[in-house]
Each structure stands twice: as C-alpha cells, then as structure tokens.
Symmetry: C2
Subunit: 270 residues, 2 copies
DNA sequence: TGCCCTCTGTGCGGTACCTAACAGAGCAAT
DNA sequence: ATTGCTCTGTTAGGTACCGCACAGAGGGCA
C-alpha cells in the first residue's frame, strides 16, 4: 500500500472513504467537512431527514431503535468502518432509527444534498456503498439472532468487542446503565455479568470505565454473533487502513437536550 | 393507471418489477424466467452464491438466520413486494442467511450473471433497489426489537399479518411447529398463544391451517413492530399493483433434502 | 473535611419462556 | 375398521431475566 488517499488531519481514516477509488476521491474531498462530535450528540433523529452523512474516524456512533414506550435497543454500531446516514444514499432520506454519538471523536461529514449529488453522478462509489449496506444488514440481522437466543453475558462480551474494534485503547468509557440501555436489558443484569467477567480477570470495571484485560477470553465467552458479523464485514470490505495512534483536542461538549442516553441511571433513556 | 409493464402470465405481479421505469423494462423482460416454487425449496444456501435472483409473485419466501447449534429465526419475509438475493445486486454475492420458500407459488427469476449485468448498466434501477434495501433493513431491525421486547402473543400476531399481506386468502398454511421455528420460540408457547387467539374469535386453527377471522383485532393485539415496518415499506416503495385473483397450477413438489423446515415436529429445524 | 451525587452491588418476589414427557385428535392409507 | 403418523393440547419443574427497593463505594467540589 497504498494508493489510498491521504486525509489532511488524520492518520486513522474512515475505511469507507479509504475504499473509494482514487479517481472519485477528488470529487469528495472538496465536499467533506471535518467535525468533532461530542458524546451524546444526535446525528439523526428517528423519522427525520438528516442534514449530513457522517464518516466517523475516531468517533463511534450507535444506531438505536425505539419502542413506543421509549425502550431502546442498539441495532448497529458504526465507527471508522462505516457511515451514518446511508438512507440518504438509498434515496429514502429518513430512517426510523436514531443515531447517537457513543464515543466522542472526529468525523467527516457531507451535506445531504451534496451526498445525493456525489453518488448520483459516480458509478463506482455505489459498489462500495452497496457492499457496506450488505454488511450492515448482516450486523442488524445478527443482532436479532442474539436477542433471541443468547444470554446477557454473551451479549455483553459481543458489545465490548464491537467497541474495542473501533477504538485504539482497551478502555471503554461506559457505565453499566448505558450498556444496559444499548442492549435493551436491565442494569442489574449487566452488573451481575460484569462481576463474573471481572472475577475471572477478563475485564476491570471502575465507575464508568471498562478496561479489557484479556480480549481472547472475551471472544471465547461471546456467542458466534460477533464473529459472524465481523467476518461478513471483512469479506465485503476487505480494505483496511493501519490504525495509527491518534490524538485530537476534545470538542466543546454540546448537550443535545432531546436525548439523555449517556446521562445518569435514573433518567437514562428508560 | 397504468404505465406499468404487463406480465405475460400473472395479473398479480411483483411490485418491485412493477416499480421499474418502463424504459428499463424492455431489458429485463427478455431475461426473466417464469418459475414455480415448491414449499420448502431452498433458494439460497447460507454462505454460498445464489444462482438466481427471485422476484416472487404469489410465492412467499422466508429469510432465516441460523445459530451454530442449528436454531433458526426468521429475520425477514419476502413476497410479491420484494426480491430474494439482493446480495447479488450489492456485489457481495453470498449472504449469511438462508432463503426458504414458505408458501408455494409463482416467481420470476434472473440468472445471477444477468442480474449483475442488468444492474451495472442501468442507472434508474438502482434507485428502486436501494430503497428496497432500506425497507429490508428496517424490517430486520424491527425484528430485532420485537425479539427483545415483545411477547410471543404479539410476535405471532405480527407474523400472521406479514403472511396475510402477501396472500390473497385469509388462510395461512402453517403448523404451530413451523410458526415456532420461524419465530425462534417453543412450539408449546405458540399453542398457548394460538388458543387464546382462537378463544377470542380472532383466528381458527385446524391442523396446519390458520384462518384469520378478524384482522383488525389481530392488528390491535400485535406490537407496533408490524406497523412500523410496513409504514417504512410503504413510504419507500409506494407503487402498488392491484392484486387481482390468481390461480396457477401447483408445481411438482421438489423436496430439497438439505432442509426440512416444513416437515414434522420432531425433525423440524430444531 | 465533609457533602452530594452518580455509579455499582444485592436481595426478593414475580413471570415469561424453556426443557421434557405425554395424551388425545384428525387424517390417510391399507 | 385398524394402524400409523402428524399435529395439537396439557402438565410439571426449572431458569433467566424483570421490577422494585435499597445499601455501599467512589469522585468531584465547596
């Protein structure tokens, strides 16, 4: 490697952007904005048309579905391996899901209208996006399976691995309550499972931070869902960028009033 | 209406084909084969590249995901409103799911290679397919939600409605065991729920056939998942074809040895 | 230092679903 | 009619997760 386009600010890029044919890159780069995303920021309200398409680099975004009563469940995780707002590319504009920044970080973004234009006039781009959609469907479907058949313990391991894959550290900044909200289970269930993992030396838990001590054992303990989804992802989008170290200034915290997923136990998205 | 292309044999067409721009239709129609699908036929093995893309008219197809141990769960239902084998259009070829004919009937199909060609050279086709994919993702995601939060009773109602929408009759040919396999729950749970529905006059159950007597109440009893997914579908693919009556000769039964989803309780896909 | 608030740990009762085993009811072929 | 099989109905006991209520622990801040 590599014929990959270089980004101005980031050594660790978005893999989807990196996978674009070089010829296309010229068109895109002038349109892309560089932004910092704060934790809890809502990128896409459920049911409304997003203003931007996001290509995260260090940020991590959760795609959530809500029930009528307001319970939520995370159906997909998007990091530097994907894009938030595929519905714009698909022509449907809105989606029924909610996109919330799960881990603050950097991202590129494209105005909705520009996104539509860029895709409309560029053939080879669609190949990448289509394969990404397929991988996304696989991840969502696997989530459905996991919900049906697997234990909380297994699901937690799966979710931790999803997080690890999109970070450069072994420490995930999440409270048990948040993890519970993402999986759509009770916080107490997460506590119990976390204790078992900690007791066995797989993780270490400290007030809002989970440090993964033994990733291989995490993989042993989880169900096949993690591997299946990941394998599908790797198959469809094999191009990888070496993930160099990364430090950026943290953005000013922008609290989006509408949604308090990240907040305290009592009011967290119940 | 309508500028919709007319199919030679069927008054009730595939809605996705019907949604194609007329200009495109000329290219497609010469490539499409008319086939009868037998119940239980496997259209697409998990992990392998399907030989055809299917556009069902009266047939209904289940997309299933499997666990390592062989448990299954239906993650999407495709009837005359969709297409089986989108992975070919997406460029990924294989998918991790299994496509099984759930209700015998008629379908059109396109050879894999021709499907790829047709899409590659035709711009406007992608719009339709992309929106369909978005609707598909929504259905899958809603399934994940339903698995997480809703009772067997609600899920059964949802599944019956999904079937009804894709048939011209009020009678669904399915055993309780089959329904249980599709939902990924125990047969006894289905029995109990079916008894409640029958007691209340919503359905009538007779050895492998469910007759829906009161659809409105079925809709009352189900969770929001049905409506959410359907609404998304209607939003993205609004074009509908009046579903005229339909009778075709039933195809010779082709039993696919590999998969006995439709078979007896004891060996059914457990 | 002490206060406050968030986060984590625990106990108890309830329930929805599961595993397992079996009994009766329809249907078909001999 | 008898036999055989599939499909439906029923029972009993186990378990994983839920709802609720509360106790302790850690960290920030005055």
């Amino acid at each position: 490697m590599n014929t990959l386009p270089r980004q101005p600010t980031d050594s660790r890029q978005n893999q989807l952007l990196a996978a674009l044919p070089v010829a296309e890159w010229g068109r895109w780069r002038t349109q892309l904005e560089s932004v910092d995303l704060a934790r809890g920021e809502v990128l896409c309200e459920s049911g409304s048309t997003p203003a931007y398409v996001y290509f995260p680099t260090t940020a991590i975004v959760s795609l959530l579905y809500l029930t009528q009563e307001g319970s939520s469940s995370e159906i997909a995780v998007v990091g530097n391996d994907g894009v938030v707002g595929i519905s714009l590319f698909m022509g449907g504009n809105a989606t029924p899901n909610l996109a919330v920044v799960q881990h603050a970080g950097h991202s590129y973004r494209l105005r909705a209208q520009e996104a539509r234009n860029v895709v409309a006039r560029s053939g080879p781009v669609l190949g990448v996006l289509l394969r990404y959609m397929q991988a996304m469907i696989a991840q969502v479907a696997q989530t459905a399976m996991c919900n049906r058949y697997h234990s909380i313990d297994q699901q937690i391991c799966r979710r931790l691995l999803l997080g690890l894959d999109r970070l450069t550290t072994d420490e995930l900044p999440m409270t048990q309550q948040l993890l519970a909200n993402l999986l759509g289970v009770r916080r107490e269930g997460v506590t119990a499972a976390a204790l078992r993992l900690q007791h066995d030396g797989v993780i270490r838990y400290t007030r809002g931070h989970i440090e993964v001590l033994d990733r291989p054992r995490l993989e042993q303990r989880t169900c096949e869902c993690y591997a299946v989804a990941k394998k599908e992802y790797d198959r469809l989008l094999p191009m990888r960028v070496p993930s160099g170290g990364h430090e950026r200034k943290r953005p000013a915290v922008v609290h989006h009033a509408a949604h308090r997923l990240m907040e305290t136990a009592s009011c967290a998205m119940q």
